[in-house]
């Protein structure tokens, strides 16, 4: 049975050399995803490891997250190619020859299943579709640790074979095997290149039409800027005059309230800052509004992280923490205008946060309250 299956799946292209060549590419894209993904996670959960996220350069997150999405998408054809290369190993008989071999196969099963799920949910998430019963961000983050661990085990176990086939050798394989291998490599390479172009071009205006693997083209949405979560989806309704709306700024016991007119009467600033989404799209926009640092000083603060609350009643990002480095960056605004016009409701009217170097989901819309905390305490 196994011999027949092996025979049916036989291809002269398969072999350790093919595994090593694709494996190297895959190791590179996975490493890039790991580093950029951890950075994004730290931004979204500043309590885990404070002090390692940066507001400058302002485009830092736009770059790290675009790279994350591109590298992750490119990983898919590489992963499929890698698994194709080692498929006969799956059908080996007997399946387990010793306890150690059994454990190794378990680690491979963990590596393969976690990797497949990781890239699959990553891509589906960029389409803002969540057809799974678990929370995306937490799962994507935890699986990254599992993949890193099982990949280290895999490389350590296979090290002698990897070292032996790190450099190609013409003598080692028959000419038709070499030809077949190069054909497979060309196919996998072409698929990876297509994945690269189909995602990376999303943020290059001149070639945006090539971004066939991305769901949202920057530029769609009101006021020429893309919108992920509309006011309707968030359940927020503010009348156009915002007569009853106040921005509360809480510093210790002291509570200050600012109406829209009072905010508009304060010193204004114009900033060009990107909205950089976790899903990989980036769009620069011209924001106008009140520098946050000045507003916090007016409310009696001189330092500290800021808890930012939205008018949204529910949602994972209703409340976020703006670390000190971002809150007091002179580029950070309580934005009232976009492209010279008042914010549309979908963009966060009456006022929204815009800070450099942060994921778009943390650029809180429909601001309700800013609460300065120091040392984690209110």
């Amino acid at each position: 049975m196994s011999a027949k299956l092996l025979d049916a799946a036989h291809s002269p292209a398969r072999g350790t050399r093919l595994s090593v060549v694709i494996g190297r590419w895959l190791a590179l894209t996975f490493a890039v995803c790991l580093v950029t993904g951890f950075y994004s996670h730290l931004l979204q959960d500043p309590s885990t490891w404070p002090g390692v996220t940066f507001s400058r350069p302002a485009w830092l997150y736009a770059v790290t997250q675009s790279v994350h999405i591109v590298a992750g998408t490119v990983s898919i054809p590489l992963l499929l190619g890698k698994l194709w290369a080692v498929y006969p190993e799956l059908l080996r008989w007997p399946p387990v020859t010793s306890v150690l071999h059994g454990l190794e196969r378990v680690s491979i099963a963990v590596l393969v299943s976690a990797s497949l799920v990781e890239v699959t949910i990553g891509v589906i998430n960029t389409f803002q579709w969540y057809p799974w019963p678990f929370p995306f961000r937490e799962t994507h983050f935890a699986l990254a640790w599992v993949i890193l661990g099982s990949l280290l085990i895999h490389v350590a176990v296979k090290y002698p074979k990897i070292a032996a086939h790190w450099r190609g050798s013409r003598a080692a394989s028959a000419p038709d095997a070499g030809r077949a291998r190069r054909r497979v490599l060309a196919l996998v390479g072409a698929a990876a290149a297509a994945a690269f172009v189909g995602t990376a071009s999303e943020n290059v205006p001149a070639v945006r039409a090539l971004a066939v693997f991305t769901p949202r083209r920057p530029g769609r949405g009101s006021q020429g800027l893309a919108v992920n979560r509309t006011a309707e989806a968030a359940g927020v309704a503010v009348p156009a005059d915002a007569a009853d709306w106040r921005l509360r700024v809480v510093v210790g016991e002291r509570v200050s309230e600012f109406s829209l007119a009072e905010l508009a009467a304060r010193p204004q600033a114009e900033r060009s800052l990107p909205i950089a989404c976790v899903e990989g799209w980036v769009q620069d926009a011209a924001w106008g509004g009140v520098p946050l640092a000045g507003l916090l000083e007016a409310a009696g603060a001189s330092a500290g992280d800021v808890v930012v609350e939205s008018l949204e009643r529910a949602g994972n990002y209703r409340m976020t923490i703006l670390p000190e480095r971002f809150a007091w960056d002179p580029l950070t605004l309580v934005a009232l205008r976009l492209g010279g016009e008042p914010l549309s409701l979908d963009h966060g009217f009456p006022a929204r946060l815009i800070a450099p170097g942060r994921p778009g989901v943390l650029q809180t819309k429909w601001l309700a309250e800013l609460r300065v905390i120091t040392g984690g305490k209110a």
Partner: protein, 70 residues
């Protein structure tokens, strides 16, 4: 050295497992388990056999074309 790396890898898998156990509820963990199992079953049981069949078919077609060309 290799033993150390295997040990480190095991610890990191443990970190991931602890993170999952603390951040996900039991039904969510069960759902994740189903996804992990389905990913392997679909890949190894459906995708690779299809690719294998397609490449067999491709090879057969190429040979047939070459025969007719002669």
């Amino acid at each position: 050295m290799r033993t150390t790396i295997v040990a480190a890898g095991t610890v990191l898998i443990g970190v991931g497992a602890v993170l999952l156990a603390t951040m996900l509820t039991v039904p969510q963990l069960v759902g994740l388990g189903v996804w992990l199992a389905c990913a392997v079953v679909l890949h190894d049981g459906v995708w690779v056999p299809l690719v294998t069949a397609a490449s067999r078919g491709g090879g057969w077609a190429r040979r047939a074309l070459r025969r007719t060309a002669r």
